[in-house]
Symmetry: D4
Subunit: 252 residues, 8 copies
């Protein structure tokens, strides 16, 4: 309940248009609801076209489709489904309109992508080709949230020229998502080159002492470059969510 609603309610009480007990119930039942809607308003009512998100892991194909259908019925134009199994995608294929599935990243989009309306570009860079599933989760998420995305894949630091060849893209980015497994050095090198926030995503790519992404995670947290923050291992979605927030700064 927003402030003006509450003020109206109190006026109605003052004018005896509503019973005290009924007003009491309304206030008591929604003390936090307001926060909730406040948040949704800020985020969605004003910036039309942004995607709703379904986290597909641990949901049955039927559950996913049911939720998505409900969203589409409410007029939602773009629905992003992450961590969706191929089996679920096959099931959803002809039940959801404008459905597209990317097997590599396990990301699906139901509906049309919104037009990019951020301040600038989000660069998604990876150390190797094996990091692509995470990178595509990030890139597709960013697109579904209304961002222009530039993909720089396989620009790992062992072949520095592959990265520096793309200095233009790096210098013109508004936010960079740096994705790497193994030693995760990409985040530090990009953090040193770029002049914008870098969100680092460690991946579970590697073997042995990579310990499922721990090595890259620690590397990125200890980055000697300023302006680098880190999200969970393999969390392309989370990085893109924050990158989109940053890229829409100053917009209402």
């Amino acid at each position: 309940m927003e402030q003006k609603e509450l003020r109206q309610l109190l006026k109605d009480v003052a004018n005896n248009k509503i019973e005290v007990e009924e007003a009491l119930l309304k206030i008591k039942e929604e003390p936090f609801e307001d926060l909730d809607f406040a948040k949704i308003d800020h985020h969605r009512a004003i910036r039309q076209g942004i995607a709703e998100v379904i986290y597909g892991a641990g949901k049955t194909p039927e559950q996913i489709v049911k939720i998505a259908e409900a969203m589409q019925k409410k007029g939602q134009k773009t629905i992003l489904i992450t961590r969706m199994s191929k089996e679920a995608a096959v099931y959803a294929q002809d039940k959801l309109s404008d459905f597209q599935y990317d097997e590599l990243s396990k990301v699906a989009i139901a509906g049309k992508l919104p037009k990019p309306d951020g301040q600038g570009k989000i660069v998604v860079a990876t150390g190797g080709t094996s990091d692509m599933p995470v990178a595509e989760e990030a890139a597709k998420t960013a697109e579904a949230f209304g961002n222009e995305v530039v993909r720089l894949y396989d620009v790992g630091v062992a072949g520095l020229h592959r990265l520096t060849r793309h200095m233009d893209e790096i210098m013109s980015a508004n936010v960079i998502i740096a994705i790497a497994g193994m030693e995760g050095a990409l985040a530090s090198v990009i953090g040193g080159l770029a002049d914008c926030p870098v969100i680092a995503v460690p991946t579970s790519v590697g073997y042995g002492a990579a310990f499922g992404g721990l090595s890259a995670l620690l590397s990125m947290l200890n980055s000697c470059a300023s302006g680098v923050s880190v999200v969970n291992i393999d969390n392309g979605y989370g990085a893109a969510y924050q990158a989109s927030m940053i890229n829409h700064m100053g917009q209402v």
Copy 2:
């Protein structure tokens, strides 16, 4: 070397105003210099007034003062010194002009703070009072980089009302730095309430199974709230650096 300088150099070669060997030397010696200056330009030449930074840890009082004096000689108006020992501060006291030292956070400022010129406010929130050293490092860094800072200290989740009482500050922030030790739950709760990027800083506050900040670090990386990224344990400076970048988005 920027593109227009290189073009001029080549023209001079074409016009025989400069020897081939001399040009060769110039190009060879500075292939990366350009990147470097490019970065400095973006970041500093245009946005006047931002602070230079000295990382005080591991430097002698003499070294710190010498570096700061050189900066002031070059006309630098604000110098931020982090992780400065009290002993170094005492030494610097009357050697650097406009010198102020905060013993709690071990942060010193030499010179005047710039006027805030960011898009909005940066909220620095902590779970407890023991997190204040890290929080003040973050707050003072943000101020030195030209940001308006709102401090919300001791709003930990075990007394939720202390936090929710400040919903206005939280909803009006442009970036939030959430600082907590022990179980680090503050980042998730703020991440759920706020509608802006949250940069989480785990602290080494706690004992036993806190394992020097590991508990809070893992908590924050696994945050169930979207829009949260994490920096190293106790790294208030790093969080403020990125927060300032975000808060100056869209400005040149």
Copy 3:
């Protein structure tokens, strides 16, 4: 051997109704037996109707059924079987009377649930829907031990209003079992809101730096809220066992 039995035995010796050597043997052979029966007496003989428990993991379907049948033959009215595979449940289906199996939590009940006879209610709360298997193990265990259970699922801290909407249930609980994976912040937030013992159960829900429940476990151990204790990862049964003990405090 309880005290009165021992006293009788000694009287019989004094009255020469029994040989010294025979008495010697009796005492020597059962020095610890008494503890054992004492425990069972306290727990079961007096509070009729409580369930016997079979830990199904690592037992064959045949073994489980055989044990349960023996219990039923001895007059046991309620048998709780935890961590029971679907395959074992199918096998047991028509061999055990009043058999019910919940595939999600892998918990089965053979016989009728006892009427709740605890002091108050046990609230079982989870951070997300993925924590439900553990939560149902806890809830069904608590019910089988004679407790009234209130389920509050998916009230994670990233959407605080979902939790605070249930303040009434939380304030009226006698014991709360707080179940969460990922960053495990639920335990701290509930611990801060509630005024009763909170038993926290970390779950292995999550990925990457969740490290199989380690993140939630450390979080919960470091809870800044008072009145929170912790059991093993995914140990819904253990939490419910202790919660039931607490909820039956003061009863004989």
Copy 4:
């Protein structure tokens, strides 16, 4: 704000005894205040005499004394100060009335201990004499919260008879706090003998592969005995807080 206050406020609005804007302000400013007071009411207003707590670690002697004096001025009869340095105790000695300090556990009590009013006894048991600092923190906390405490120190499992000799105390306890470092087996053995909730406290006692309490912590979390939950390493206070809650179950 409690429900009846809110009802009265609305009635006042309906009767125009109070302005709409003023009512708006009142409601808006205290949405969470109610939770807070609700909690305090439950816990303290009704059960008079319980101690207020000051966590001494990281506070200056002056800060501690100032807080305690304020509490005493408000009529608080018992104040518990944990993790208080000897230096702080010396400073507080003649400033706080009825001040007693225990150097071993770093616990101080200002004021008189309340009379025990719990349902039964809390047994505090330790594996060795080195666990005594943690045990005394637990025991003194429990006493300050109005519990009768039975101390069973140095009853580690390597000399089982030392423990079993105290079967009477163990069987008659209402709650047991089992405190041990090294391999932490005490919790399991007591958990197997007793018929009441056991709260286990791992301690940092030990060396080498004890890893600062990690060994005991893992042991206790994996206890094969039912009815055991665990708090943070060396957290005697936390264990006593929950034990006291349990021991006052069913009381208002």
Copy 5:
């Protein structure tokens, strides 16, 4: 080459019965051979009847059988095969004489068990029934090496009477192998009761914070009881090997 052989060789050189170059070759080629045979002599030539061992893991059924056949051809009466897959056992069944396979422990014996010739008995005790695969590996290994074995299974510390009921076996053992997963407390409790060397074997039984046996391993290493040493997780064979050595002390 043993000392007396070397002396003889040198005498032959002195007597010119053998060429210098030939002697040189003999000495050079076997400097370590002697150690090897020395060891085998001590262990096997004198104490007839002990088993040869094949570590089955990572070997094909064909390889195992071929090695065993070669051993039998050389007159080996007992062959112990550990970590043998069921598939390999089926293959070996009618190719090796007197072949017996235990599926639970994956141990096979080809040939007849030697008569026990140790000083006393080896007790193999486990905390639970789930530890039986490791326990049987230990027990069968000990038997194959000529020891009388007493099995005490499922005597975990949560039901202390189950263990203490067997005080006679424990007090009369020459060596005890204590096998437990989860919190591994069995080793400490037995170490405290017994008066002989205890070799502790942590097992990977358990879940969550058992971390694949780490919890039990640390517990056992930190045992507060004297006379306890530890082998690798699930290493029943290793414990039995050393136990057999100890049980044959003083024999040649």
Copy 6:
């Protein structure tokens, strides 16, 4: 209470020399005492001369001396004090008779060393000279328990000849205590050479990835040599205790 005492007590009851209630009390109060004395009997009453042990860590100089004096008063001829600070030793110097202190290992002996009465020799071997404090704790403990000790220090595997030069001592040992930090390879190499039980002691010697002894500990647990078991990091006392047990096998 031993069996014959209990038999006598029962006879007294039968003969009415003692009241039933008095007998009841006697039996009830000492049900575990018997185990205790049984153990002491086996270990001490028969094998005269063995040392009593005081674990000095965490005890004040006064406490140590008081305990030792009490032991000497009871006629104890040898008292072993481990982990005794230099300060405590200075204090004890002229209060305890025949007092000798070794600063390196922090071990003191009060009284005379018993004559070796084990079956054979215990070899104490170390990888480097830095392992000597642990080694001397082991060696002095073994001597205090009546064993002949052979010291082989600084025979680490990086200079294999230093070790193999001592093949005679190794082959003639009854038990070997292998002590090493860093990579802990000594245990495996000795385990491969020797034909007797090897008890491995990892030490905290080393830096960096030695992680306080973890590296050596894991190495030793994973030893590819048979017949090796392991005790806690730096636990020279524990290794010697078990080694002495083994070396006195078969003796009463």
Copy 7:
């Protein structure tokens, strides 16, 4: 772009053979290219015959074959494919000329092995037969890079004579690759015997406290022998790559 090319380009500009803008483009587009080719030149153009490498993990059979075919078309005589699945090998079998696949190490060679042209021999030694997959990856890689390889398999330190019997090979090696799992002691022992660089490869062979190679990794990093460095767990390829570099030292 190498220095002489750049000089020529500038001369062409001076001579107006090339336009300024065209020269600008050439320089700008390849600032790092030069580094790249420089590297390839050093490594390949001069030392003809060395293998190109394809890392097969995570690539489809089709992708591998396509890359290899392209290489062969460009005249590459030897192609090394590591971590190639059997399925991929079957697919590649008749598509690539001179194709050979080793199932154990998952290494394939397409084309002819180059003649060894290193300074000396590379010895590949393993602790056990289970380390052979890693060892063969190392050995085949070394051969594909033009080295003579000596294989010493199953020379683990538990049977020291197996290793020392090969002192000649060890002393005559130019580089040694020491491969071992479990306790990884082989690296230290070889490092102590040999007089050349030793590259240690921990393997994931083992169970329990081997923790997937962690034990061997830490051991090798802490080696008390000088001249030992370490690569990632199971990284036979990486060890061979560096060994080959060392073995070709001083060659152009």
Copy 8:
């Protein structure tokens, strides 16, 4: 004992110039001595002038000086002392001739540095100035072993141009020692640029999630660049030892 000595000894036996028993003793006492001397010969007898090494940690000033004096008496021209405390250096100052001490790296040289006689240069590069203590240990060790050393300090990857400006030194190195703490990315970037073996040294520089060098260690082990191997945290000496071996390849 080398082969020719052994041959001569046997000839003497054959010619009866020496008694059988005396020859027996000689052979028996030195079976491994030969390996030892063999090694020293290769390494030292032929390449005159190389330094002897004393590891100063854990040795008293007196011990260090005594060992060094003995070495100088034997004619050793250069003695390298690592990890030497300032206190020890002050003590040694005027007792050892040509003594020089570097407080930063705790390295001392007694005597004159040998003339560089390696094949090429060893580059010692660090990520930051805080890594200098480790770097100087490496550099001084390399010089003491007869290598020309090029120092590239503070060339961390966050300012890539600082590193690439030194491409000439990097490309002309024979071996590179890459030293870095925090995220340790330097090793990968240099490994990607250089065409020679890179030995990576993680340092304990950093805080929080650097975990005492663990982050850099894992990074370097997982390097995506080929030709990189790793030594223990802070082990500058070890890296230099192997680098010197490589740099003297092919020399006798």
